[in-house]
């Protein structure tokens, strides 16, 4: 089948589990009083390339409206893409029919943000977790009920609670039910859309630890969508930053957080309010400077020409308005660290980076 885009050497040479190329989702905007006609398009996801390898976590961060949730829904094929391609396990599933999708649906599962509205209040916990097995006609050895009890135990709930209803559980416990449902079909890829952001801090950590343990033990790949940069850093091996429907930077975690090259990534990181863990440790991560972006994210109905970040960027020049920067490996970047910027930031730390051009460092 098709070769991997970067064609990197050891380890990652295997075919990616999920490959998005030029993926696009435009929603129509309709107007008119009696007769609805299309007056514009929301460029929610506007041509993105991403890969997720088996067993790894790709974090997807960005502000509200950047298209990260739409991307997650496209991957789970809950939305029909308007352009580009989704390849899963080497097969093109971009426009696969319901029947063609059936075997794949069980392998790609989703965990939603709101543990209250994503569980049917009229079904028992047992029924909710059995659901996917019934729909897909899967009969695990020992029966579905036994499997449900097993899953409840895996996610840290009491198997005795099989017959309870969602309202009898707290927010954190409900999110565990959502995780158990996602695990019911032994998925290979879980799309987790803000799985912990509705939870209290102390509960959030419980769920993050649970997901990490599951990934370690079951080797599930995650597309982890969140706006919280610290949670994403904690959970992901690689991280992609989205802005107005485009990927602006993607890299392995250390490279992205320690040496952000795109001004937007840099600004995002500097905007996170922080409790310094320990002053000594903080100094090794480099001094935190403050970059304050002016204004808000522009409308995705009419995104700026050229680089979409230019309207808020302090480095923007004429070139940025006329020419869209491609997502490429910049000089001084590690392999796999891609940035879409005409005037990238100097790497803040250049320890283990491959600095090709000292003038850029």
């Amino acid at each position: 089948m098709k070769e991997t885009g970067t064609g990197s050497a050891a380890g990652k040479a295997a075919e990616p589990l999920l490959e998005l190329s030029g993926l696009e989702k435009h929603f129509p905007v309709t107007g008119g009083f009696v007769f609805k006609r299309q007056v514009g398009r929301v460029h929610a996801v506007d041509g993105i390339d991403l890969t997720v390898h088996a067993g790894e976590t790709l974090g997807l961060v960005g502000e509200s409206g950047c298209g990260k949730s739409t991307t997650g829904r496209l991957v789970a094929r809950l939305l029909e893409p308007t352009g580009g391609a989704i390849r899963y396990g080497g097969r093109d599933i971009t426009h696969a029919s319901r029947r063609e999708l059936k075997p794949i649906r069980s392998e790609i599962q989703m965990i939603f943000q709101d543990p209250y509205s994503s569980l049917n209040p009229r079904h028992t916990v047992g029924g909710i977790i059995r659901g996917p097995m019934e729909v897909n006609g899967i009969d695990p050895p020992g029966g579905r009920d036994r499997r449900v009890r097993e899953l409840l135990e895996i996610v840290g709930l009491n198997p005795e609670h099989y017959n309870r209803f969602p309202h009898e559980f707290s927010g954190g416990q409900r999110q565990r039910i959502g995780v158990a449902r996602a695990l019911a079909l032994n998925p290979r890829l879980i799309v987790a859309d803000e799985p912990v952001s509705a939870l209290d801090v102390s509960i959030q950590a419980q769920v993050v630890n649970l997901l990490q343990a599951l990934q370690r033990e079951l080797g599930i790949a995650f597309l982890f969508i969140a706006h919280d940069l610290a949670v994403v850093r904690h959970f992901s091996q690689r991280v992609a930053v989205m802005y107005l429907g485009k990927i602006v930077e993607v890299a392995d975690r250390d490279s992205l957080y320690r040496r952000p090259r795109h001004p937007y990534t840099h600004a995002l990181l500097s905007a996170v309010p922080e409790v310094e863990a320990d002053p000594a440790a903080a100094s090794t991560a480099g001094p935190r400077e403050r970059i304050r972006l002016a204004g808000d994210v522009p409308s995705p109905i009419d995104p700026p020409s050229g680089c979409r970040f230019r309207t808020r960027c302090w480095k923007a020049q004429e070139k940025c308005a006329s020419e869209e920067p491609p997502l490429v490996r910049l000089e001084g970047n590690r392999e796999g660290h891609l940035t879409a910027c005409h005037f990238p930031e100097a790497p803040t730390v250049h320890g283990d980076d491959v600095v090709l051009d000292p003038a850029l460092a």
Partner: protein, 333 residues
């Protein structure tokens, strides 16, 4: 020492519901000085919002039973008449809420909503209050305030709406501003703008601020003093430095270790607090945190389960826990 601007003593708020009495706030005391920010931290249901609604006198007297003392600039607020509270709200104490979209009226222009507050409290003319609204929008950094004053809330972005809320809260120069999760609904880059704005406004006007939040990062960046609440009670109090650098209460430790941080080395495991927060109808006896605490054996399980610890010492950095200081130092290390 002069009396603090806001002084809350033994505040208790109970709600009578079908399921029983909800002890939302139980014996809470704190002070806020002029020109300083008190950060109140806690998870959902810890009583932080209920406390501040009591300061504003916004609880329904039919369902909420409030006792204790709330003194604002020497004036007692508990049991104060409606007209007294109406005079104080807006003039002396104002509030900004979490969700600026639902707290602004969609039917009126931004300028009218800001001006209305001013007119009501000062009796200014329509023209004067419109000018005042423009002045306030300028102060909170809305571009083209003379044009935007006639916009409706839906024409503003989330960050701008929050700025408009702040403008409305500050229009009568209150001495105390209560900000209830003011940035929780906003993106990080916009959150940073709003927190900077609040800091600048405080420097200019000397307003006291109560910042209610679940985010310790926000507290670290804005507050001078911190109060950590759990199940309606204060479990730790001190300056930001004291509470975040040398936390003393096991719950504060739990909050800090369960939060991933950008400045920490990667792969530091998160240590969550086990279990879930208690129901406020049925708060555990003794220390409310004891069912989730890992150190009850060390502190004396009998004591933790039966007797409620008080915040000690009474001034400065205090916490409500039976562990001795030496034991805490040992554990933190």
């Amino acid at each position: 020492m002069s009396t603090p601007f806001l002084s809350v003593r033994d505040l208790t708020v109970d709600f009578h519901t079908e399921d029983g009495v909800v002890h939302a706030v139980d014996g809470l005391s704190f002070d806020v000085e002029k020109g300083t920010t008190l950060g109140i931290v806690g998870e959902s249901g810890s009583g932080k919002s209920v406390t501040n609604l009591a300061v504003l006198g916004l609880h329904n007297p039919e369902t909420a039973k409030i006792s204790g003392e709330i003194r604002l600039d020497g004036e007692e607020l508990i049991g104060a008449s409606r007209s007294t509270m109406e005079r104080l709200r807006g003039n002396k104490v104002a509030m900004i809420f979490q969700d600026p979209l639902t707290s602004l009226s969609p039917y009126h222009t931004i300028g009218r909503q800001i001006g209305e507050v001013f007119r009501r409290h000062t009796g200014a003319s329509r023209a004067a209050s419109r000018d005042r609204a423009i002045e306030m929008l300028t102060r909170v950094g809305i571009p083209q305030p003379k044009v935007r004053v006639d916009d409706y809330p839906h024409q503003f972005s989330g960050g701008m709406r929050q700025r408009a809320m702040i403008a409305m809260a500050l229009v009568c120069d209150p001495d105390l501003l209560i900000a209830d999760e003011p940035t929780t609904a906003l993106d990080v880059t916009v959150q940073a703008q709003i927190l900077d704005l609040l800091r600048d406004l405080q420097e200019q006007t000397g307003t006291a601020i109560i910042m209610i939040t679940h985010d310790l990062g926000v507290v670290a960046g804005t507050a001078h003093e911190v109060l950590v609440m759990y199940a309606g009670r204060a479990v730790e109090r001190g300056t930001v430095r004291e509470v975040l650098r040398e936390p003393r209460h096991p719950y504060t430790w739990g909050l800090l270790t369960s939060m991933p941080r950008l400045s920490a080395p990667v792969d530091v495991p998160l240590l969550p607090v086990r279990g879930t927060p208690p129901s406020l109808v049925n708060v555990p006896p003794g220390c409310p945190f004891h069912p989730r605490c890992d150190y009850t054996d060390l502190a004396g399980p009998e004591l933790c389960r039966s007797e409620r610890p008080e915040l000690s010492p009474h001034r400065g950095h205090g916490d409500a826990c039976y562990l001795t200081l030496a034991q805490k130092r040992e554990i933190v290390r």
